[in-house]
């Protein structure tokens, strides 16, 4: 207890020192005035004191967990959240029923602004599921994922601007163009190892935005493209509120479709090849998996979904400009995947809904959003790298009481 107190005090002094120039002093270099915010120091001190105690406690717990061995039984109780939800029908069935009811009735209870926000959250669900294929299943860290989203959105934007193409034609085109870009960008970087890959994809994401901003003749530059058509239904005339609701249901169908496809793919031959590649590339290639094809397909599949929802994003906003496709969007999608649990579909869906809806409804939280996302990414990696709901890998053979849980 005393050692806790001592180390917490040391940490408090240290963090007060670290944050002093940023939290206390605020200079205005134009007016040559300085503002001293001493009260902040108190908050930092209190926060640092308790957080460092919490940190130390969590670290000790983590060490104990590691020391108690790798036996699955020792840590079943804390790993079963995902399992319980997925396996226990008593929980699973009513939960699903409630969820379905909420989702279906949502547009009738709330106004079209709320529906529109929910639509955005669903877009991020699909983005998260798409990136989950590349990062979670295949282990290829893609920091420029937003580029494929932009490709999809701009495919629709440009097609509707120049050729007056409708939503339904653009939807598959957006997905396919996204996938095509995935393959094109995937080719040169096949040979790169994990961390180089991350930086190059980050570069691709930034290049995409710069090109969209500067290629004025085609993309209309920073001004963006306006008057993009909303989704139509056999030429029916609908007002904006109805279209929003219609788009919402459309999006739900798309989310279900995404869940279905990614779920099936995960347990298919190619899905298993992705996971094998993630675990050990050399062993995987030695077992006869075609490395190039497997990696490219992971890229293409991930990019396909981004392109697809890019079209819906353009249709939802009816206006797109390069500022919707910054590194921040990539980081948000990545934190969705990290928080949800890499490879886990349920986890990604929950994480996407929480991370997108929370800042919308808690306005006070909105400013701190990226700060918290950053901290969450660090903490998740340290304390719970498998995510909130860990991926349950499908096992074949005789039915066991507890399926194996993928812990990596």
């Amino acid at each position: 207890m005393l050692s806790y107190l001592k180390s917490s005090l040391v940490a408090t002094v240290w963090f007060v020192f670290l944050s002093f120039p940023f939290m206390v002093v605020k200079v205005n270099t134009l007016k040559n005035s300085v503002e001293w915010r001493w009260l902040n120091l108190l908050w930092v001190a209190i926060g640092a004191f308790f957080l460092s105690a919490l940190w130390r406690w969590a670290m000790e717990r983590r060490h104990r967990g590691g020391a108690s061995g790798e036996s699955a039984h020792a840590d079943t109780p804390k790993l079963t959240l995902g399992e319980r939800i997925l396996n226990d029908r008593k929980i699973y069935r009513p939960l699903l029923a409630v969820l379905t009811a909420v989702i279906l009735l949502f547009p009738f209870v709330f106004d079209s602004y709320q529906v529109s926000i929910m639509l955005l959250a669903l877009i991020f669900v699909v983005l998260g599921l798409g990136l989950n294929i590349t990062v979670g299943l295949a282990g290829l860290l893609d920091l420029g994922y937003v580029a494929f989203f932009a490709v999809g959105a701009y495919s629709y934007g440009l097609l509707s601007f120049y050729y007056d193409v409708g939503f339904w034609t653009a939807l598959p085109i957006g997905g396919l163009v996204g996938a095509l870009f995935g393959i094109l960008l995937g080719f040169p970087i096949l040979r790169l190892r994990g961390d180089y890959l991350a930086i190059v994809t980050l570069g691709f994401g930034l290049i995409a935005k710069i090109v969209l901003e500067n290629w004025e003749e085609v993309t209309n530059g920073a001004k963006g493209i306006a008057n993009i058509g909303r989704p139509g239904l056999f030429g029916l005339q609908m007002d904006i509120a109805t279209t929003t609701i219609y788009t919402y249901y459309l999006m739900i169908v798309l989310v279900l479709f995404t869940i279905f496809v990614t779920n099936r793919i995960k347990d298919s031959r190619i899905g298993r090849a992705w996971m094998a590649l993630r675990e050990d590339e050399i062993a995987c290639v030695a077992m006869g998996v075609d490395m190039a094809r497997t990696k490219l397909s992971a890229y293409a599949f991930g990019a396909f979904w981004a392109g697809l929802v890019g079209v819906i994003f353009a249709a939802r906003n009816t206006y797109i400009n390069p500022n919707s496709f910054t590194f921040m969007e990539s980081a948000i999608v990545l934190s969705i995947v990290v928080l949800g649990g890499m490879g886990s579909i349920v986890g990604v869906i929950i994480a996407a809904l929480v991370l997108i809806l929370l800042p919308e409804y808690l306005r006070a939280f909105a400013d701190y959003r990226m700060l918290i996302f950053g901290a969450v990414m660090v903490l998740m990696m340290i304390f719970r790298p498998q995510g909130l709901i860990s991926n349950v890998r499908k096992t074949y053979g005789p039915r066991r009481s507890a399926p194996e849980v993928n812990r990596d």
Binding site: P21, I189, G203, F204, A331, F373, G374, V378
Partner: protein
């Protein structure tokens, strides 16, 4: 005129390049030892610049004069950057020493987002005017259109820092320990090197160099905001890869080549696509020669 234009681009490219080199050294040293892309390194550079701005702002108000501001602001900024670098490693990377490779990288990205938004929220999202810390050198006045005094100071300071680093790594005890750790961490531990301490010192040295870069850039460009670390970080990483990551002379060479290429391309082709050139160079290098200009190719261990 044509010739003077070229000379102008050349000097500004060298200046830019030597800043990239200063930041790239931090990346390359950390990567050499723990094979981690310290994604938050650019943020340390930003923090260095910010502390210098804050301290010099306060000192100006309290009536200090030119050189004493430069010395004090520089010193405090360096101390703070080193402290942040050390804390960063302790919190975000040390617990992940034995984790799979992607984990520390994601943790690093998280730290980078955290630090950016911390400065954004605690200070301001706007650009701040950075005080001109580097005094004008009267002797250079006639040549001001080719080489400014800030540029000269940047070139000299970065050259001196790099020489000091080289000497440190070559002759000092900690430098030898760093090289030993880089070659074989387990063996280094066996011969009694405190590896954790070596890693901490590596982060501190890298952060000091980044802070020097931050202060120099701040007074060269004249304004900073919370976001400057991101671009600078990515470009410096490009420079480190260009020279062969893990290779210290390579980082310097890579920084200079990248700075020159960018400056000349911006001058003669188009400045709108300036950043595209940098990433284009990175992608090309990684495809054609992943080991970089001076690096040795590493065969994967089976």
């Amino acid at each position: 005129m044509e010739y003077e234009n070229f000379l102008g681009y050349f000097v500004s490219g060298l200046t830019r390049g030597s800043i990239y080199a200063l930041i790239a050294l931090g990346y390359t040293m950390v990567y050499g030892i723990i094979q981690l892309i310290n994604f938050a390194h650019g943020e340390i550079y930003m923090i260095g610049a910010f502390v210098a701005l804050i301290v010099s702002g306060v000192l100006t108000i309290y009536g200090f004069s030119g050189v004493s501001i430069l010395v004090l602001a520089g010193l405090i900024a360096i101390i703070y950057a080193a402290a942040y670098g050390y804390t960063l490693e302790r919190i975000a990377y040390r617990p992940l020493r034995s984790a799979p490779r992607l984990s520390p990288l994601i943790s690093a990205i998280g730290m980078s987002l955290f630090l950016q938004n911390y400065v954004l929220l605690a200070q301001t999202p706007d650009f701040l005017r950075f005080p001109q810390l580097i005094p004008e050198i009267a002797l250079l006045q006639p040549y001001a259109h080719v080489v400014g005094s800030a540029e000269l100071v940047i070139l000299i300071t970065s050259a001196l820092s790099m020489i000091a680093l080289t000497l440190l790594i070559k002759y000092a005890k900690i430098g030898k320990a760093m090289r030993a750790t880089q070659q074989d961490m387990i063996m280094a531990r066996l011969v009694g090197i405190d590896v954790d301490r070596v890693i901490s010192v590596t982060f501190i040295i890298g952060s000091i160099l980044a802070a020097i870069g931050g202060i120099l850039v701040g007074s060269y460009i004249g304004q900073i905001n919370f976001y400057i670390g991101f671009m600078a970080g990515v470009k410096a990483f490009t420079a480190a890869v260009l020279g062969g990551i893990g290779n210290i002379p390579g980082a310097v060479l890579g920084g200079l080549v990248l700075g020159l290429a960018e400056s000349l391309a911006a001058g003669y082709i188009s400045s709108a696509y300036e950043d595209v050139f940098a990433f284009g160079v990175l992608v090309l290098i990684l495809i054609l020669r992943p080991s970089g200009l001076l690096g040795k190719a590493i065969k994967p261990k089976v």
